[in-house]
């Protein structure tokens, strides 16, 4: 066993994993917050109210209006945890438990400084690497060893993160963030639709692979800064390929080999609950179908955003559809994108036996055993 290599995880992968960890822990907060607010707003709209967050509705004579006002408040409370949680768990991924507190506090500061997701990202990374450094450098005599994790690291780590955020990077990050926000928010008409189409196409391209994740993660990150169009585009695009391909197998069963008929049922179901990966068996069986996936996802995404649907939650499954502003055009856009894919897939699945692909869709990475 002399061949065991000791390779260090590349910094790129470490950063990517850290950010994904942060986003992963942040998701339930956004979902809870966005859906509660969605319920409050749909409920309020039945009473003709479009500003349920206004304090005046808290005093309303109507019990339901008061209730919806409170629901909106609960949702807002959940959303206020977004930046602290994402920063905390980015730090946690880098330096484990001791980094959690400095990361979360840095994230809250980022939130207060108006630096948005960018600031939280920086705060999390700072906290992670500061704590990692402190943990490696601080050598205490055995009798005092427990003072490190329970006193020095939380206090020192937090202080360092806050000082750097507040006096060094806070200002520039906050201007960068508001510049980015203004640019994206000012996007209108054609630009907005092109952006949505690009995001949609990226999401449909590799179904949960790196291109898809890059687009989805960026969209979710912008969500934390209150920019909803990229998220709307991504959430529409996620479910279009599995639904489109799945439905094609249900309608034109004979066009597809037997194994894909089975996969099609699963794919339809996975599509409705918001899992892109259901479409993978089709892309493996005939990679050309990826072209159709990209076109269908891009069209659906561009249509939803262009027609003014706004999805504020990182949810693509059907249970999130009603909470979308403009849910009707949103669902129609999904239907149109899926129809494009269902019909387009028939170009490539003609009912003739498809030869098994000679090699996997992508080359296998090098797997190295380390100790």
């Amino acid at each position: 066993m002399s061949k065991f290599k000791s390779e260090k995880k590349s910094i790129g992968i470490e950063l990517k994993n850290a950010i994904m960890t942060g986003v992963s822990y942040m998701l339930p907060f956004i979902i809870a917050g966005a859906v509660l607010m969605g319920i409050a707003r749909i409920g309020a709209s039945m009473y003709g109210i479009d500003n349920i967050w206004d304090a005046a509705h808290g005093e309303s004579a109507n019990t339901f209006v008061r209730l919806f006002h409170d629901f909106d408040g609960f949702g807002g409370l959940a959303l206020s945890f977004m930046l602290p949680v994402v920063a905390g768990y980015i730090a946690f991924a880098i330096a484990n438990r001791p980094a959690l507190a400095p990361g979360m506090i840095g994230g809250l500061l980022a939130s207060n400084l108006g630096t948005g997701f960018l600031g939280a990202l920086v705060a999390g990374l700072l906290a992670g690497y500061i704590v990692k450094y402190l943990a490696a450098k601080i050598k205490l005599p055995k009798a005092l060893a427990s003072a490190g994790p329970i006193f020095l690291i939380p206090v020192g780590g937090t202080l360092l993160v806050c000082v750097i955020m507040m006096y060094l990077v806070g200002g520039p990050l906050s201007s960068l963030n508001s510049g980015l926000e203004n640019w994206l928010l000012a996007m209108s008409g054609t630009n907005k639709i092109v952006l949505a189409a690009v995001i949609g196409g990226m999401v449909g391209f590799d179904l949960g692979g790196p291109v898809n994740k890059a687009a989805v993660t960026t969209a979710m990150a912008l969500l934390a800064s209150g920019i909803y169009d990229p998220n709307t585009a991504a959430q529409v695009a996620i479910i279009i390929p599995p639904i489109g391909l799945g439905i094609a197998t249900l309608i034109w069963k004979n066009r597809f080999p037997e194994s894909l008929q089975e996969a099609g049922k699963a794919s339809t179901l996975m599509g409705f609950i918001g899992v892109s990966e259901g479409a993978i068996p089709f892309a493996i069986a005939n990679p050309k179908v990826i072209i159709v996936n990209v076109i269908g996802s891009a069209t659906g995404a561009a249509m939803a955003v262009g027609l003014g649907a706004v999805n504020k939650a990182p949810i693509s499954g059907f249970y999130g559809w009603l909470a979308v502003d403009g849910w009707f055009v949103y669902v129609i856009s999904i239907a149109v994108g899926s129809a494009i894919i269902a019909l387009g897939s028939l170009l490539f699945f003609t009912g003739e036996a498809i030869k098994a692909p000679e090699k996997p869709v992508s080359a296998a990475p090098k797997f190295a055993l380390k100790r």
């Binding site: 880098i94 484990n96 994740k213 190295a368 380390k370």
Partner: protein, 102 residues
């Protein structure tokens, strides 16, 4: 041979469990004993214990997020890879692992 594995993905509902299944199926086909701990959105399941680790020969950590309690695997030969790798490249993954032991 006994392989302990972790599967963890950012959302913790789909890839985690697809990877776990792929690891179990591929491992079984190769006549290996495999135990996969899934760290999904409902927390850890089928947790790898100290006893498991004591008799494990190697570990596969298939994760796109930070693995909880990763220190457990400090003293065991391991392959770290993306959560998608066991699903897409399971054969190559086990090949690389077994090669080192023959």
């Amino acid at each position: 041979m006994f392989i302990v594995c972790i599967a963890a993905c950012p959302t913790g509902v789909a890839h985690t469990f697809m990877a776990a299944e792929a690891l179990e199926v591929k491992g079984k086909a190769l006549g290996l004993e495999v135990k996969v701990e899934t760290q999904g959105s409902m927390g850890a399941d089928n947790i790898i214990t100290a006893e498991d680790l004591a008799r494990a020969d190697a570990a596969i950590l298939a994760a796109d997020v930070a693995v909880n309690d990763v220190e457990r695997f400090a003293d065991i030969p391991k392959i770290e890879c993306s959560v998608a790798d066991p699903i897409k490249h399971g054969d190559e993954l086990f090949e690389a692992l077994i090669k080192e032991f023959n």
